[in-house]
Symmetry: C2
Subunit: 131 residues, 2 copies
């Protein structure tokens, strides 16, 4: 079990490094939704980290041209963070790598996969199935 946990950690770090990002910045990128700019404060709450750390992480994303700060339309204190075109593309690439099924899962039979899907949905209901 520890093995599995650790290998996942290393896999995540490798995917991040392949794009020149640290794991924190990669998570930041994944949290941002295309076309939905997000305030720094929201990001700090979502990532359960300090606001100053968000400043640093968003700086990293901006350096890579993946995101950009924009003024908030009504509250001039707020700066929103939006994905750039490059950021949207990179985010999609990372997501597909990160959630790609490992070989052992792809080797499961169609029947096993459907059963697995049915049971796992009980563990982590998608937003659509929540009341």
């Amino acid at each position: 079990m520890t093995e599995l946990f650790l290998s996942r950690k290393h896999q995540v770090m490798e995917i991040a490094a392949a794009h020149g990002l640290n794991p924190g910045a990669m998570n930041a990128l994944l949290f941002l939704q295309p076309g939905e700019p997000c305030s720094m404060r929201t990001l700090a709450d979502a990532w359960k980290c300090d606001a100053s750390n968000v400043t640093w992480l968003v700086d990293r994303l901006e350096e890579h041209g993946l995101a950009e700060r924009r003024p908030h339309p009504t509250d001039r204190r707020v700066r929103t963070v939006a994905l750039t075109r490059k950021g949207t593309k990179t985010r999609a690439q990372i997501e597909s790598k990160l959630f790609e099924a490992p070989a052992s899962v792809r080797d499961l039979s169609e029947h096993d996969l459907e059963t697995l899907d049915r049971i796992l949905r009980k563990l982590a209901p998608s937003p659509e199935t929540l009341s």
Copy 2:
């Protein structure tokens, strides 16, 4: 999915902090097997980190009285790391917390649990089932 990954990360950090350990030191503790001392070099390879970092992590474990350095019986260059009695006990406590089934899993029916077990065994075969 990202949510799940992050919440797991925070859970792991909380369990480590409850024992005054950082996540790295906790992983170190979990890797050590009672009655099976392990060289520093082996640990560095296992955790894919630098040897100097192992020195630091084992220092943390020794400070907490969880592990101790011992000479290698034949190679005087090598220092092995062994769990103390306290380390063995703490390790067991952490392991049970870390791998405790979440409420959503405990709520599954007996039948679903058996099915899940059958399918998951195909993904991560235990050492016994490996050829």
